[in-house]
């Protein structure tokens, strides 16, 4: 049984989240500024991967200093980056392995904890078969750890089932780009954005989730470009939008079909490009014929004249870009939504040039790199497919095993939890993933975790998911191991080690290598350092789509990163894809694919007549395992809230600050209302970073996109009720909660 050994409140009393406000030594000691050294590295949070310098004294990170020279952000940082250093020397930090007891957790030696883990996993595999154990990884891990984890699952455990929390990030985009363009990488460097004459930002709360991209968009406008924002909410980036399209949640494909309809009607498409560099245009042109502006307006809630204007601007520009993120991707038809954006760019010839192209804004720190080297359920290093015989043969040779010994494709992240729930998977090793907060239908996820016969979690803090663990292995923060990540641009960059893991905590890579040894597979894991892992990754990726063979750590530092593929030493890297209309399919062409408008998996009806959509706030990151422990970030937005338009609020007699019950087919959650005119009246929004009773993901549903396996976080059916001025935390009325900017 993997139920938490104590009530959550008691675990939280010991393991946090505790709010850390001050650097080691406190503010008053001058020690704060007496750093021994500055370590140039990158932020541990989102896919922008801003350059930052950590101030280090002895073995503690005591502050930060902007890094002006790193070209992507030139010193700029969001509040998460500014306060990130407070996660170091944190009172909640796990300094020893923990083993579960009847009454909580007790500290254990590494020998005991590693032995309990290897024997726990082995016993389950002996009893139920190899695939009864699964591995969950994360897209915040450096690429060396991601690679190691994939190899560990396939060789040390021999299980098919390894997947990662990048499954909640941009997989719909990755799938669509692979289908249409032949490769899963963002096509343009960010430096292209200011060159564009028109930029569509679709389903991306840029200002809060990718703050540095704001500067690129504002510079595009300084250059005379136009900004079009597509979102059910007027997020802060909309304040300078030249055109705002308030799309109904889930209706993105309809909107982009309508825009393409007008482009074709006005003959703004680039015939020569279409003819020479693409296939499948006629079928798409035929499909969008029925999406005239009037019908599109009825389905999307976007006025016909706005659709016409967007089409004329985008179709009339020489250089246009379409940036998209989770808002279009988190749907059961997320792949279609992205395809409809790609079709728009292909039809107008906007691809493969400066300032022109579809671009995904990858969300997680190593969201791009973490999905390239074998951490995904269907993947081998170098972005190879695990069921491709040639890929199996090559990677098996690098690893020194027989190709037939490699497992085949396994389950994706949500499917792994579902297999646990139905009893097919009994054991779990998880790192860098907090599924209890981040996966949809949290009540169901909790039931699944409770059913595990053995669960080991590697983490630096005791996350809500780790409450369920039998063994917790005290792992490392990003600043405690050296390696590489690949940013959202496709730029591979160097993460430098600032300090050693504190106390008895250990580097994640060492923990995984030690587990492999105890599982009797040490001969395949003779890595003395993450550098050894990187050198093997280079070889394993060679000849693959994501070819890193020409990358060295030294080049990354000297050249401020390299865009993959880098197939040979001395190769300059590949900042921009598809130049000259050369695509990565065997036929060299881009493929138009019909994007069909489809309903969501949790349809609205009379009982549940309102869309619920979820997302992030600027001061928190993902499941909050780190950021809910950093005092100033918590103070900025301490609690989740429900954004409601005054029209909808009035129908339920809800005033700003009232407690509101949001009810879906799965659960109900009560939160304070934030009554604002910046959201569609048929939609409510809740940020998802919080656990327990305040968890937005108790409300969401598990419908997946059939191709990308991404959950449909961006549209659930709900209804709302006024729940009075119910007390918030600390007994304060909910209405007095400090919600950012609310009155």
């Amino acid at each position: 049984m993997a139920k938490p050994p104590l009530p959550v409140e008691e675990l939280e009393r010991v393991y946090g989240p505790t709010l850390n406000y001050t650097p080691p030594g406190g503010w008053t000691q001058s020690a704060h500024h007496a750093a021994d050294r500055l370590v140039k590295t990158h932020c541990c949070f989102c896919g922008q991967q801003c350059g930052i310098q950590l101030r280090v004294r002895e073995n503690e990170v005591v502050g930060f200093e902007p890094w002006d020279e790193f070209p992507f952000n030139r010193g700029m940082l969001c509040p998460k980056g500014v306060k990130r250093y407070l996660q170091g020397s944190h009172p909640d930090r796990l300094l020893d392995p923990l083993v579960r007891t009847e009454t909580g957790f007790r500290r254990a030696s590494w020998d005991e904890a590693l032995e309990a883990t290897s024997s726990g996993l082995r016993q389950i595999q002996e009893k139920y078969g190899r695939d009864s154990v699964a591995v969950l990884g994360g897209a915040s891990l450096i690429s060396e750890k991601s690679y190691l984890l994939g190899k560990f699952a396939r060789l040390a455990l021999g299980t098919r089932h390894i997947d990662y929390n990048g499954r909640l990030c941009m997989v719909s985009a990755g799938t669509a780009y692979k289908l249409a363009l032949g490769v899963d990488r963002n096509p343009n460097p960010w430096a292209d954005i200011p060159e564009a004459q028109v930029v569509i930002v679709a389903g991306s709360n840029v200002a809060e989730c990718f703050p540095i991209t704001t500067d690129y968009l504002w510079r595009m406008r300084d250059n005379g470009g136009k900004l079009i924002v597509v979102d059910p909410r007027r997020t802060p980036i909309t304040r300078n939008a030249d055109l705002y399209l308030p799309v109904k949640p889930g209706m993105d494909t309809a909107l982009f079909s309508g825009i393409l309809h007008v482009i074709l009607r006005e003959e703004l498409e680039k015939r020569e490009f279409i003819q020479n560099h693409t296939t499948g245009f006629e079928a798409v042109a035929e499909y969008v014929k029925e999406w005239d502006p009037r019908r599109t307006a009825e389905m999307t809630g976007v006025p016909p004249e706005s659709i016409e204007k967007a089409a004329r601007w985008f179709g009339g520009a020489e250089r246009a870009m379409a940036l998209h993120a989770r808002g279009v991707e988190h749907h059961s038809h997320g792949v279609e939504n992205v395809l409809s954006i790609i079709n728009l760019c292909l039809a107008t010839g906007n691809i493969g040039r400066p300032g022109a192209g579809p671009n995904m804004i990858t969300g997680q720190g190593n969201g791009q790199g973490g999905r390239e080297h074998g951490q995904k359920c269907d993947q081998l290093p170098g972005q190879r497919h695990i069921d491709d015989p040639a890929a199996r043969e090559y990677v098996a040779k690098v690893w020194g095993v027989e190709p037939d010994s490699l497992p085949r494709s396994g389950y994706s992240a949500v499917e792994i939890l579902e297999a646990i729930h139905r009893g097919e998977i009994k054991g779990l090793l998880s790192i860098c993933f907090n599924p209890l907060v981040s996966l949809p239908d949290a009540g169901y996820i909790r039931e699944a975790l409770n059913k595990l016969e053995f669960f080991c979690n590697i983490d630096f803090f005791l996350s809500e998911t780790a409450h369920h663990a039998d063994v917790v292995l005290a792992g490392s923060l990003q600043e405690e191991e050296e390696g590489i990540v690949c940013s959202g641009e496709g730029r591979v960059i160097k993460i430098n080690k600032a300090i050693d893991p504190p106390g008895n905590a250990r580097g994640d890579s060492r923990i995984i290598v030690d587990l492999a040894e105890r599982l009797g597979k040490g001969e395949y894991f003779r890595f003395a350092s993450t550098r050894d892992i990187f050198e093997e990754l280079r070889v394993a990726s060679k000849g693959g789509t994501a070819d890193y063979s020409g990358i060295t750590w030294e080049r990354l530092e000297k050249e401020m990163g390299l865009y993959w593929p880098v197939p040979a030493e001395g190769h300059p890297g590949t900042p921009r894809f598809f130049e000259g209309g050369h695509f990565k399919h065997p036929d060299g062409k881009a493929h138009f694919l019909v994007a069909d408008v489809k309903p969501g998996g949790d349809p609205l009806d009379e009982s549940f007549p309102v869309h619920l959509t979820t997302g992030r706030v600027v001061s928190q990151f993902l499941s909050g395992t780190q950021t809910r422990r950093i005092g100033p970030l918590v103070d900025q937005i301490p609690e989740p809230f429900v954004e409601i338009h005054p029209e909808l609020a009035a129908r339920h007699s809800i005033a700003n600050g009232d407690a509101v019950k949001v009810i879906t087919r799965r659960a109900e959650v009560t939160l304070p209302a934030m009554v604002v005119r910046t959201i569609r009246p048929d939609t409510v929004f809740i940020p998802y970073h919080w656990p327990g009773a305040k968890s937005a993901n108790r409300l969401t549903h598990r419908t997946l996109d059939p191709r990308s396996k991404i959950p449909e976080f961006k549209s659930s059916a709900c209804r709302i009720e006024r729940a009075g001025a119910a007390p918030g935390p600390n007994g304060k009325p909910a209405g007095q909660l400090k919600v950012l900017g609310a009155r």
Partner: protein
């Protein structure tokens, strides 16, 4: 940093509070932020604006100070109140037309933005203007500012009959020469 000027463009602000958080990291006032970040009316808009000290040529805060505790340096930067002199009377807080100074009650001291003179004196840009992700706060040379931006930087403000000239520039939409914030200045009144 010689030749560099500080520019504020409220229309670029995304309300992320990076400046607020970064300001609190500065060596001279650790843990306390000197920046104001305001949301105008969150019901209607996400628009927000940062407010740093404008560093007036003739600082109203200093004029209003009964203890002569507020000094302007040769670099044009108006400093926080001098600790031995400040009596925490809040005259400056009330007098400043931009609403910048804050009295730190527990320290019995007025503190405000000093444009990070500890950083600029060693060749580092002010913390807020360095980290600001939207560059609503920017610290560059006037030539660079002219190259980067289309709008017009102004440093003359009218508050009723008071004209205030500042070291810090604020961007206004093209065609504006100064900012009148008093309703009266937009009214037609019979002589």
């Amino acid at each position: 940093m010689h030749g560099y000027e500080f520019y504020v463009d409220p229309s670029r602000c995304i309300g992320c509070q990076s400046c607020v958080n970064a300001c609190a990291e500065c060596g001279t006032h650790r843990g306390v932020s000197m920046i104001h970040l305001d949301f105008f009316d969150r019901e209607w808009t996400t628009a927000s604006t940062p407010m740093v000290c404008m560093h007036c040529e003739n600082p109203t805060c200093a004029q209003a100070c009964p203890a002569d505790a507020i000094k302007k340096g040769e670099d044009g930067v108006v400093r926080s109140a001098l600790k031995p002199r400040c009596i925490a009377c809040s005259n400056c807080v009330l007098a400043c037309p931009f609403g910048v100074p804050k009295v730190q009650i527990e320290m019995e001291l007025m503190m405000k933005c000093d444009m990070c003179y500890d950083r600029t004196s060693v060749g580092l840009r002010p913390m807020c203007a360095t980290v600001c992700p939207s560059q609503a706060l920017m610290y560059v040379t006037p030539e660079e500012a002219a190259r980067l931006r289309r709008d017009i930087p102004v440093n003359t403000f009218h508050f009723g009959n008071q004209e205030v000239r500042t070291k810090v520039f604020m961007y206004l939409p093209q065609g504006s020469q100064s900012l009148d914030v008093d309703v009266v200045s937009d009214m037609w009144r019979q002589e």
